[in-house]
């Protein structure tokens, strides 16, 4: 779900920049990369601390039942490893999602496409990623993948329309 956050944030950022009159792709990509780094660091620290605290509480409960310290056992090692792995994933997911949406703007900064085309491509990439994420969620939840995908795209369209209206105001 952190990837969803990254895609949404970058979608809103690019559209907001474009509709508020911005036309410099270098500025957009610089701010986009900075936002991705911030989201990555935020995802890493937030997840590391919450996962560690939650798993430490579970381990403490098990220690109380076992009447022994489980820190040097496989359970203690699993706690540290799982918290770290979850933090890495939560750091990379939003940053990767955001950078994928910002990629067309990077093409624009290389003068390969015009800035308005890059914005349109970013929106298309973002909506496609949202649909894919929703479809995947629907699959693993054994629900309706197409419905999940449509809901995610709906959320993306909602953000796009809101940002467009705010930018044009």
């Amino acid at each position: 779900m952190n990837c969803f956050d990254g895609v949404m944030t970058m979608l809103g950022f690019i559209l907001g920049y474009f509709f508020s009159g911005g036309s410099n792709p270098e500025t957009a990509i610089g701010a986009g990369v900075a936002a991705s780094i911030a989201m990555g660091v935020s995802g890493f620290t937030g997840t590391l601390l919450t996962e560690f605290a939650e798993r430490a509480r579970e381990l403490e409960e098990l220690e109380r039942a076992m009447l022994k310290d489980l820190t040097p056992t496989i359970y203690g090692r699993a706690l540290r490893l799982a918290a770290f792995a979850a933090a890495i994933v939560d750091a990379l997911a939003p940053a990767a999602g955001a950078l994928a949406v910002a990629a067309p703007v990077a093409l624009s900064s290389m003068r390969l496409v015009s800035f308005p085309t890059a914005v349109a491509l970013s929106v298309a990439t973002g909506l496609l990623m949202l649909f894919t994420l929703g479809y995947y969620l629907g699959k693993i939840a054994e629900g309706k993948p197409l419905l999940y995908g449509a809901v995610m795209v709906g959320a993306g369209v909602l953000v796009s329309v809101a940002v467009t209206l705010l930018g044009g105001a």
Binding site: E61, L62, A65, M66, L67, K68, L70, P72, T73, I74, Y75
Partner: protein, 95 residues
């Protein structure tokens, strides 16, 4: 003449997350045992009491207890131990 431990029966408290196949496999593979069996004696919300029977040609008790410790198990008592006297010729053969 030295004596080697050939069978040890332990009363072990283990977390329920650790399955019996994982427990016996780990003891078999890493604690030098040739035959391991585990029988559930008591089940609690988060823990299980297990009667662990370890058999082998020469059981290394320190290795066995260390492995159980690493797996997060608590050995509550050593209920039975069997040893076998080994002639010096066999000791040389066994290394």
């Amino acid at each position: 003449m030295p004596a080697w431990l050939t069978k040890v029966v332990l009363d072990v408290l283990k977390p329920r997350e650790l399955s019996l196949p994982d427990l016996v496999r780990a003891i078999c593979e890493e604690a030098g045992a040739e035959r391991v069996s585990a029988d559930i004696v008591e089940v609690d919300v988060r823990t299980e009491t297990v009667k662990l029977t370890v058999e082998g040609y020469s059981i290394d008790m320190d290795l066995l207890l260390g492995k159980l410790e690493e797996l997060g198990c608590a050995v509550r008592s050593i209920d039975s131990v069997t040893a076998r006297r080994v002639s010096s010729e066999k000791t040389t053969e066994g290394g």
